[in-house]
Symmetry: C2
Subunit: 143 residues, 2 copies
């Protein structure tokens, strides 16, 4: 997953150049154990190289449009991102209401809910997003 060659190949398949910033974004997301905020990604790339935030935002937006990463709309107008590859299938998330950190939960069987959730006839359902809110064990210990 953190294999640079895979990412280069992936980018080639998308018709994108394997630039250092694109590779860094994919590597960082591939090594992350949780969904990352755009700013976290930016800061992590900046430990390696000088980069403008606009570049990272534009790359994340492009990857999202292509379905290479998933953008999570969580509490507090800060987007989180995670890699969307066969190793990271769609799954529910947990967000702590105190520290705002995001954890990945195990994928649950969504198929049986799918038809039930389809909603008003005529709507086309593309994606299902499940979020659990609460208090993580770290913040629970503090309180």
């Amino acid at each position: 997953m953190s294999d640079r060659c895979n990412f280069s190949h992936w980018l080639a398949l998308e018709g994108l150049r394997a630039t250092p910033v694109r590779l860094a974004v994919l590597e960082i997301l591939g090594e992350a154990l949780r969904a990352l905020r755009a700013q976290e990604i930016l800061e992590l790339i900046r430990t390696r190289r000088r980069v403008n935030k606009v570049t990272v935002y534009r790359i994340l937006e492009d990857f999202t449009r292509r379905g290479m990463v998933r953008k999570l709309s969580l509490e507090g107008r800060v987007n989180h991102f995670e890699l969307a590859c066969e190793h990271h299938p769609p799954h529910p998330h947990f967000q702590c209401q105190t520290c705002r950190e995001v954890q990945c939960l195990e994928p649950v069987a969504l198929n049986q809910m799918w038809t039930e959730l389809r909603g008003p006839v005529g709507n086309r359902a593309d994606h299902i997003d499940i979020k659990v809110e609460g208090l993580c064990h770290k913040c629970r210990d503090m309180a």
Copy 2:
């Protein structure tokens, strides 16, 4: 639901004064068939009376903390709100990726998913939020 007396009583129970702006927020949310953006609520109140946006934001934040309304974190950093009373139990939502409008879906049996979704031991799960993204019938017809 759009009964002013109910809302006054509800506010009294919360130890809040039944001011015109608070009542207007509750009435508007009570009559809405879908979750509303803060700005929509603001504009609807302004058809009745002069009000500062800060007042509405503060009331919505206060109501959310008290559990009187639910704040939905959807796509784009704009919050949506809906009334949280016995007539509007928690339920999944559908959001159109094109027009961004939000529809309410039927509540599904969440209890069997609850334990499965609880996630890492030690986390306290307070709330589950299910969102379906796709294309609503209106936008589908246009395309």
